[in-house]
Symmetry: C2
Subunit: 278 residues, 2 copies
């Protein structure tokens, strides 16, 4: 999916919602456990109930990998069920030396080889240039690089400051910017500190940002939009638990839709406020 | 495998060799391509030919994941073929927020859930405390955290210096040290700059270090030992291409053994020189 196509979807759906598919078998409705593949069955129902309200889906690869071969089968089926008008994000936090990152890129981008053809993947930048650039060599695919995350541990290293006062996450953005373009690079920026977006936008005014941490992790959509939105929207705001675990009953998909709709409506108001849609 | 058991194996085998299983289907002998699972067949032959000469095996997870479900099946069989007297290392470079890192830990440590029960896993530290500590919660398992890697891009961020002159990789070691012990934490330190080990040993005098980059990547075993060895050896030196791709013919396993034997003999000499064995 190209940048232009993504922006078009945001305008059509009046939404910049990303639905996280961190599907945990201990949290899904009990009646699904009788299914052959409960995780896939759950995901398919969530996707069908929300796909007109969101522009992206983000399976968290750990939740599949933790069940080994069986989990990888659920992931394969889930990927196949993702609608083509949504950006598919493999939330994998991969990154290794060049030849290995190339293999990870094939794992998530090269459908002929691996069975999976995600549009994008999240990347950990610690190993530098050759760990990131192999993901940028695939036409129409995106690398979404960790910049400032929303978890407690994010302050351990991401705020590490050099003698000029530049923090590591700023250095990451400045360097990584030179390796790709706004057509194939995004950054992960946590929502838990709204004003944090001011600094991010100084370094990456035009890039799309993938924003976890709204909802269960405590971030506010309004703050994120106030400080993080740009003229093309430039935001994909993720929600997981608030949507997919809205109910543990037979109505889980309906309740998920209701929660997604609430967020879509808030997002529509923000897009109107910013003059991106009418 | 505990620290004491690992040190014992090093003394018994007179070796601190780790064999990397970065098995690339385009580089293995052509006659194996007729096998049902060429990657596993190759790995099994390499393991059988080298297991008395090394103390660890390190499958590089990307090389399996790049073939999707089929690759994961090769990984599963490979893990089952690893001998119990060798430390098994999932070279996965994982790391995410706490609940997700826990899932990754289950993927590689929790045999009952995932089918895989590796002894250790490599971890990317960018996301900080909660991305690392879930891997430390498993008895008898190890987190091997990236500190100073051997690739070209390692200088992009790992050398980022604060106002006191402390570099990021030093900050990583200092912080991560406080989260675990020498019984469940190791660091990845590339071999390409031997003197780099002096600084590493200032911050982590007693930890085991996993050292890639000897051989194909240009590092010298002598330099690594001179600057990096401690009284318990404290090193696991990885070699991949020099061993597993020593021949593309029917003799690939014999040639792999010959190369592993050369390294084992050099290592034996270093262990004697250091007074660790006689």
């Amino acid at each position: 999916m190209t940048r232009a196509e993504l922006i078009q979807q945001i305008k059509i759906k009046k939404s910049f919602l990303c639905v996280g598919l961190d599907t945990d078998i201990t949290k899904i409705p009990e009646h699904l456990l009788a299914e052959e593949d409960p995780i896939y069955t759950f995901n398919k129902a969530i996707i069908d109930a929300t796909s007109d309200l969101c522009v992206a889906y983000k399976p968290n690869i750990a939740f599949y990998e933790s069940y080994g071969i069986k989990g990888w089968q659920s992931l394969q089926k889930t990927w196949e069920a993702l609608p083509k008008d949504c950006l598919s994000i493999a939330d994998a936090k991969r990154g290794d030396i060049g030849n290995t990152s190339k293999m990870y890129a094939q794992a998530f981008f090269d459908e002929k080889q691996s069975g999976l053809g995600f549009d994008s993947i999240t990347i950990a930048p610690y190993m530098g240039n050759d760990s990131v650039t192999p993901f940028l060599d695939f036409d129409g695919k995106w690398a979404i690089v960790l910049a400032l995350t929303s978890n407690a541990g994010s302050l351990d290293f991401q705020n590490f400051k050099n003698e000029s006062g530049l923090q590591l996450f700023e250095q990451v953005i400045d360097k990584v910017n030179t390796w790709g373009t706004i057509e194939n690079l995004m950054y992960v920026v946590g929502a838990t500190r709204g004003e944090g977006f001011i600094k991010i936008r100084e370094h990456a005014p035009d890039h799309f940002l993938l924003v976890p941490g709204v909802g269960a992790q405590g971030g506010s959509l309004q703050d994120v939009c106030q400080y993080g939105m740009n003229k093309d929207c430039g935001l994909l705001v993720n929600s997981t638990r608030g949507i997919i675990y809205a109910s543990k009953g037979h109505d889980f998909a309906e309740k998920a839709r209701e929660e997604a709709l609430k967020l879509q409506q808030e997002m529509e108001a923000e897009l109107i406020k910013a003059g991106i849609i009418r």
